[in-house]
Symmetry: C2
């Protein structure tokens, strides 16, 4: 895994094209960032819409984007590091986000973009903190 900032990593994931359709790898139990299974779900985001900010206190996220393109902005409040990364089928990567990281993301391509989140625990609203876009944990210019 490559380090984006402390607590956020990315790794290559396979995207295999075939004449009748493609295969996109999401997660396998022998992948380095696998940390057990709790839940896997899809979140879609429309072009220009921003979801966030959210910080998980226990969940480790593993995210891929098999359709559209999504810009992720991540912030580590302990190290004060911030980074942004654009993920899409053309730049197909697995983003691993550890607990304690603030994240927001925006749909960047026309129509609807899809992310898949493979998480090590089931969804539990009590383990996540949220902040509105009007009170972000760090300044970010989305333009």
């Amino acid at each position: 895994m490559d380090v984006l900032i402390k607590g956020v990593y990315w790794s290559e994931a396979k995207h295999i094209a075939t004449p009748s359709g493609d295969i996109f790898h999401i997660m396998r139990k022998d992948v380095e960032s696998y940390n057990g299974f709790g839940e896997v779900y899809i979140s879609t985001v429309k072009q220009g819409a921003i979801k966030g900010w959210k910080k998980h206190t226990r969940m480790r996220l593993n995210i891929v984007v098999p359709s559209g393109s999504i810009r992720f902005v991540v912030y580590n409040p302990e190290t004060k590091e911030k980074a942004a990364i654009l993920i899409s089928p053309e730049n197909y990567k697995r983003l691993t986000v550890e607990p304690g990281i603030w994240m927001a993301f925006r749909g960047e391509s026309p129509g609807t973009s899809f992310l898949v989140n493979f998480a090590d625990i089931p969804h539990d609203p009590s383990e996540a903190e949220s902040l509105g876009l009007d009170q972000p944990p760090v300044d970010h210019d989305w333009q």
Copy 2:
């Protein structure tokens, strides 16, 4: 879970719409059809393209279709039962297919349809059998 044919089941899965985008549940470790985790991947299929026939000898599939629409045809060679089911975001269900079932599927909507397969073992070509569309395990009129 509801029985489609012996060895093939479907269950309701959640599709939650929100103004900025939707959430599609795929699998959670407390879902009835969860049988351990091996691998999860996406397979896409273009309109009119058919993928199959394939029969797994060890893998149990759990399939959802969060984009497009896909017609699945399944065949149990022991009971000689055959069934077809169309799955899409509008008819969002989790299809569970046990080992020993033949399956083929076709993209039914314009453009590309997406399926997510949550499997209890990692992909292993040696545990699957394939038959070409010109020698199907059961007659099926795709028209």
